[in-house]
Amino acid sequence: MPRRRDEMVPEAEFRSYYGQPIVKKPIWHEPHMPTYLYLGGLSGAASVMAVAARLSGADRLARASQMIAFGGGAAGAGFLVAELGRPERFLNMLRVFKVTSPMSVGSWTLAAHGGLTSVGAASAVTGVLPVVGDAATLASGVTGALMATYTAVLLADTAVPAWHEAMRELPFLFAGSATASAGAMAMLTTPRRLAGPARAAAVTGAAVETAAGALMERRLGMLAEPYRTGRAGRLMRASRALTVGGGLLAAVAGRSRTLTALSAAAITAGALCTRFGVLEAGRVSAADPKYTVVPQRDRLTARLGGR
């Protein structure tokens, strides 16, 4: 009878059933899901910016942020509905609220956020019911912060190895990326002499996104491989270059129209690459049984005291 000699098996070696995957790949589509992740983050961070701008009296910036929050939320909802296949499917999500399902929590968050940003934007444009509009905008700061981060939980709460094990860093990666995206859009749509805080947000967000991405890959060990190789690797590298470049440009753009536009374009492209890259890395890590077996084996070995 064949015997196994575990102690002689080098780390990267593992056994599988004809190389077949163990866990199933997420079935989310491109470009729907990654674009939704980007737009939801953009809208969420823009709402937080709208609140901060409002409270500090930066009214032009507040107005621009409100419009971005509304536009991003509406377009994002469109992509999510397209992902689900039929509009009534989104409404079906709202028939129950389940705390154990990030998909349920997210659907309710998006519904609330979409409602609040719509009321805020409508009131700002028409001048009708300013108090209600202000209250809605303030409240959207809370749903916005959730919008920019819940998607990290949505991905991490799966058996997809490259996502689940990144549960600590993904929220910061997405929050940073969302802040950079919102800053980029706001500095593009506000008179440049009033856009200082938006540029600062773009720089800060880009820095956080870059740092969180680097930390994530460092900490993931062998599970960083899916983020570094193949198409996902190319996307993540492009994301890093675009985000760092865009962030640096935002820092020096000042009142230059060209530099502002270049920086905003780079940051936006970088944020999109991040979402496409993370999704692809997840798919790769689910498709290769190595990423399921080896970390679990290591865990078992460690628990059994390295037998």
Binding site: M1, P2, F14, R15, S16, Y17, Y18, Q20, P21, I22, V23, K24, K25, P26, I27, W28, A45, V48, M49, A52, S56, G57, A58, L84, R89, N92, M93, R95, V96, S101, P102, M103, S104, A145, T149, A152, V153, A156, D157, T158, A159, V160, M167, P171, F172, F174, A175, A200, A201, T204, G205, V208, G282, A286, T292, V293, Q296, R297, R299, L300
Partner: protein
């Protein structure tokens, strides 16, 4: 509906007596009217079914090693802590009076979130109708007092159905007997309530490492860490608010 409390029912699949006849696959398909899963010549082994999925609720794995031929009929584990059920946003997945996990296809919204949540890669979405499907442990038969079709059809009692506590005892005796006979490779998989999913309602006696059969060696229900995930997301959300506020403070 009668609400008589029932004991937790389960499967004990003893792979040491499986002969690879695939009677379970056929019985499952026939009883549950599971559609064709395609005729794919996989050129790897006697197994052309491939894997569990929306249209495959029992799957017999074949592994040829020198000196022996391993066969094992895989199925949904009906986890104590089931990730598919936890993450389902509509409540389409529910726990029955037999402590099994079943999808109500009329409620399933087709979001597919349960698919990557399952640590065993069991449940899948059927593209034809856009809904998630998997083994129901023959919920309809159980309610009628019958055993599941696969267990009924298994000619060697490799698939045993019954109250889970009884099955666990029987499995323990079986593994001890095999060990006494010198078959020290025999081990139970999923029988322990202390594992990452709280023990499975369908557990196995295997003759090799789980991964050889395409099973995860140390599965964990992803929602075990949900609290931690939200805590980190919360920290990031507050961080975002703080960072944005700081950007405005400097200017005003």
């Amino acid at each position: 509906m009668d609400e008589t409390p029932t004991r937790r029912m389960g499967f004990f699949t003893d792979t040491s007596v499986c002969i690879g006849c695939k009677a379970c696959e056929v019985a499952c398909k026939e009883w549950n009217d599971v559609p064709d899963d395609g005729f794919v010549f996989r050129a790897t082994s006697y197994d052309n079914t491939g894997a569990l999925g929306a249209d495959t609720w029992r799957h017999v794995a074949f592994i040829e090693q020198d000196g022996r031929w391993l066969m094992s009929s895989d199925v949904c584990k009906h986890c104590t802590n089931a990730a598919c059920l936890d993450v389902c946003p509509t409540g389409a997945l529910f726990r029955t009076e037999f402590d099994t996990v079943v999808v109500q296809s009329d409620i399933c919204n087709g979001c597919g979130y349960c698919v990557p949540a399952c640590p065993y890669g069991v449940i899948d979405r059927r593209e034809r109708d856009g809904r998630a499907w998997k083994c129901t442990m023959c919920y309809d038969r159980l309610r009628g007092g019958l055993e599941p079709a696969c267990a009924k059809a298994c000619p060697t009692t490799s698939i045993q159905f019954g109250p889970l506590d009884e099955l666990r005892e029987r499995a323990q005796e079986r593994v001890e007997r095999l060990h006494a006979e010198g078959r020290t490779d025999a081990r139970l998989y999923g029988e322990s309530p202390d594992d990452g999913v709280g023990g499975t309602g369908a557990f196995f006696l295997l003759l090799d490492e789980p991964e050889t059969y395409g099973l995860p060696p140390d599965p964990v229900v992803t929602t075990r860490d949900l609290g931690e995930m939200w805590r980190w997301a919360g920290v990031a959300a507050f961080g975002l608010a703080g960072a944005v506020a700081a950007c405005f403070l400097r200017r005003s």
